[in-house]
């Protein structure tokens, strides 16, 4: 078995997390799974080296991340009193919450790109709770549609990993998700007046 350390980066302080960290990382499956895997390895094409494509995609996604960073800075500058923002969720508990789109392992999106998205989601959630219920419903439904699309693209990428078209579509879906958040975050910037 692997001898490479796999422990937590930050030592957990909670005794329960300490115990969890002490649990065995490896659990042997009850049977040898390799024959089943080996039989399937020849069934599907392997991803061709797609570095030629990754560059433009990475650049496009990088541009989006830069845009998100600028947007976050903008929204923070325009944000009302932080105390007001912090209080909002207590005053208006959301009837529904959103689930950001989950992109599969074939997406090529980096942790940095997803982190930028998640930071935008935090700002989005502050606004989301104040929207009309029907608008919130529409947003939740459309995020589900984007999730379905991301799943379909990821499944297709598993079959055709080198497809520039599919990777472009996945980045396009990511971009649509960011646009949705940004439209809401930037809407009527001054509407939350201190009380």
């Amino acid at each position: 078995m692997n001898t490479i350390p796999f422990g937590p980066r930050d030592p957990p302080e909670d005794p329960l997390l300490v115990k969890a960290a002490e649990l065995p990382k490896d659990v042997e499956p009850p049977r040898d799974l390799w024959p089943g895997i080996a039989a399937r390895l020849g069934e599907a094409p392997r991803e061709a080296s797609d570095r030629g494509f990754r560059w433009p995609m990475a650049l496009a996604a990088g541009f989006l991340v830069a845009s998100v960073s600028a947007l976050l800075t903008w929204s923070l500058m325009r944000a009302p009193d932080p105390a007001v923002v912090a209080r909002t969720p207590d005053v208006l508990a959301p009837a529904t919450d959103i689930v950001p789109v989950s992109y599969g392992p074939n997406s090529g999106l980096t942790a940095h790109e997803l982190l930028a998205r998640d930071e935008l989601v935090v700002r989005f959630r502050e606004k989301f709770t104040t929207l009309r219920p029907e608008t919130r419903d529409a947003i939740v439904k459309n995020l589900a549609i984007m999730q379905t699309a991301a799943d379909e693209i990821d499944a297709a990428l598993a079959k055709d990993p080198a497809s520039g078209m599919l990777k472009g579509m996945l980045v396009g879906t990511y971009k649509q998700e960011l646009q949705l958040y940004s439209t809401v975050v930037t809407s009527s910037g001054g509407h939350t007046r201190r009380t």
């Binding site: 009309r132 549609i145 497809s163």
Partner: protein, 299 residues
Amino acid sequence: MITRNTWLAAAVLAAAVPPAMAQQQVTKRANVAPDATVEVSNVQGRVTITTWDKNEVELVAELESDRDELEFEATQRNVRIEVDRENGKYGRGDEEDANLTLRVPARARLIVDTVSADIGVTGARGEQSLESVSGEVRTQAFDAAVKAASVSGEVTVTGNGGKAAVTTENVSGSAVVTGVRGSYRGEVVSGEIKASVAAAEVLEVNSVSGEIDVHAELTPTARVEMGTVSGTVTLRIKPPVNADFDIESFSGDIDNCFGPEPRGTSKYTPGSELNFTQGKGGARVEIETLSGEISVCDR
């Protein structure tokens, strides 16, 4: 580009209206440059903008809620109008609107954002950026850039013959773009895009699951990029068609009125692709789908 001097002017002109009484009507005016930037923020109700031949911005605000505050700041270069509603007390069953009616110079640059308020603009020839979360957005395109976006509301852009650059963004709402010349970029998640573009130089239209229907006349060097994950793309090109086509589908259908039959891309997937030159070529048309339908026709 607000200078120190204009900020001084702003300080003189600034007028923060105290909390309005219910049903109160407020009128404000300011002299501005012909191409001044007018920024408007509203939450609920309506923003209506028309143009006139004066270098002046006039605002008539009807505030139905006494919890609304109106801010009006103006310099020669910049006018900022904002309705602040008491934090968190909007969009949750109270239907008290703030209706803002503006008259602005025809070349003014407009930046409008709302939450649920509708936006209607007529006759504006300067750049426009109009965004709403759930409100409807209606405007006209002349010869300047227009961006119109609504998450769940409808967007309508009507061209007026000038060479424009129109962008629409929707999520569940739909976009109707008619009579535009030049370039059009549209994005939608589940809503619908219907567009007619004359002398198209750039067309970039994409959806996730929504339906796209574009009727276009292509210039000799036009660049068309359209795509949908699972929706439908219909491109009708006004003849004569002189373009290079590159159409690809992972598992959906491709239907074309001209050119060869689509061919399979891989023995592993049900995908198909279609590459051909129609007429003299020149314009470039790329359309892609994952599982949706693509239809290209010249009628």
